[in-house]
Symmetry: C2
Subunit: 120 residues, 2 copies
DNA sequence: CCAACTGTATTATTGTACTGATACAGTAAT
DNA sequence: ATTACTGTATCAGTACAATAATACAGTTGG
């Protein structure tokens, strides 16, 4: 994981997305301990406060949870990884297709561009 | 054009993108007069100031220009529409593919998802 | 037990985007 | 010329994200 954030965009969503990606990739499995607030803060060059806030947002979605004094952990729920993965793919893909259709592109044209840009 | 902006995200980039889409779609052609700062402000429920700032950003990219007192116009440059269109498609497509590859998806899998979501 | 790590909370401050109000200046049509 | 539209500029106020600096509380392993 790189933790190189785009300082010109809101940080919390970026931190959340990075974590979700690691879970979707199965780099982090259910029950796994994840990096502490302060560790990530150091690596990502942000304030522990910002990481804390990001973690709390993911906690609210049931993706991770905390044990005071012990650390943060990936939800034990075995379906979480798959859910996060599918949600990520679905939202990104739908957004992309919508953006292309706004330009008036047909399905075939969209597929053509995807194929074309994959080979680069 | 809907001009329904997401108030939870920075407005200027959204306004810029809306205009770029209209140009890429050829709804606005080279030399066309575009909606005034105040008109858009009313429709998009934002301050004229915010629209002004957005227009200035597009001006800096050479996409539009202003004539004091007269209004804002699409660049006379005949290549602009095509440039904007290609740039839009390229950046969106590259971003999308990159996001999918981060999850470990192969080219074939990406194409599969695109096909699948187009039919919905 | 203790030291070193965790999460959590608080407060003050900064930077930035956007608002709202107002003013001035140039253009265009009647 | 007058009127009504344009762009342009400025300034104060608001809201929010993030920083910075602490402090406190719970957990863990030696």
């Amino acid at each position: 994981m790189d933790w190189e954030l785009d300082k010109k965009r809101p940080l919390c969503p970026q931190i959340c997305e990075q974590l979700c990606i690691m879970i979707a990739r199965d780099d982090l499995k259910p029950g796994d301990k994840i990096m502490s607030v302060r560790e990530v803060a150091l690596m990502a060059q942000v304030t522990p406060n910002t990481v804390q806030k990001s973690y709390e947002q993911l906690e609210q979605q049931g993706v991770i949870y905390s044990r005071r004094g012990a650390g943060w952990f990936v939800s034990e729920n075995q379906e979480i990884a798959q859910d996060v993965r599918e949600q990520y793919i679905r939202s990104k893909t739908e957004d992309y297709i919508k953006n292309m259709q706004i330009l008036g592109l047909s399905g075939d044209e969209i597929e053509k561009y995807v194929k074309e840009f994959i080979n680069e």
